[in-house]
Subunit: 151 residues, 2 copies
Amino acid sequence: MHCQHRHTHERQELAALTSRLRREDRKITGPRAAILEILRHHPHPLTNKEIFSELPEGECDLATIYRAMQMLEKLGMVQRFDFGDGAARFELVGEGNNGHHHHLICTRCASVVEVQKCFPEEVEREIAKTNGFTGVTHRLEFFGICPDCQK
Amino acid sequence: MHCQHRHTHERQELAALTSRLRREDRKITGPRAAILEILRHHPHPLTNKEIFSELPEGECDLATIYRAMQMLEKLGMVQRFDFGDGAARFELVGEGNNGHHHHLICTRCASVVEVQKCFPEEVEREIAKTNGFTGVTHRLEFFGICPDCQK
DNA sequence: CGCCTTATTGCAAAAGGTTTGCAATAAGAA
DNA sequence: TTCTTATTGCAAACCTTTTGCAATAAGGCG
């Protein structure tokens, strides 16, 4: 059930996030709340450094962000992405969602579009079976030149 | 000892590689020949450090390998892969081949199987078109537990 | 064959991104 | 409020990769 105004909606989401932490016996600290706030307001995967620079001056140490993201990833609250530029990126994952999806990234300006298409399940199953692997997933990202950069 | 047939075959391949370098006005140096030898004998993507440790003691500096791989990649003689563990991997590419393919990697023991299946072209084209991107490619790797590690 | 030019190398330092040890701090429980 | 213990900040360490620079050696030319 969604509420009418945006503010309330956001509040609920943060509450949902913190309660999820509490459920896992994690403390709700200033830095963690601030990080979750940033993530909630950003629809795209963010690097730790990007999160850091969004944070108010001195709000939290970079190392703390690294530790927080590791924990959030372990709890499944955040999904890690790798755009191949050497920096991990993270996106908040809704509860009961595994966060699996892909992106289309501009190789000129680094803009990012979310992609809903996925690798065909039956082909993946076939690959797993052929090679005797179990628990097979994949990492998939698309790269190209965005409309703006074509001009 | 290897049979003569195979030996000849290997020699030819190395000659093909060096002639390709020569064609591009690159010098055939000791380190480069040694690196190509290593790559030729390894069917799987290797990290620079792995190449380095395959090399006879003092044969070549790590920095030289990094520079060589950059050059070989630019010439299209080598294909870069990213298994998400923070180290780039490289595989030799046959001439007239773009080297595009994927892998299935065991998350326990890191063993690697080459995968010939690829993301469906028409879906990729659709993704490109929908978002107005041009020159779209993808990076795709599969992860799971290999037969040995299931035991 | 030996010289010359210039690409290439080795070495050491630097540049990212990420992790970690440790003492100080602060959340949450009692 | 006090107590316990997870969490933080800070600085140092780690890893992969890049880079500056002087020394070296490939390949072209005479």
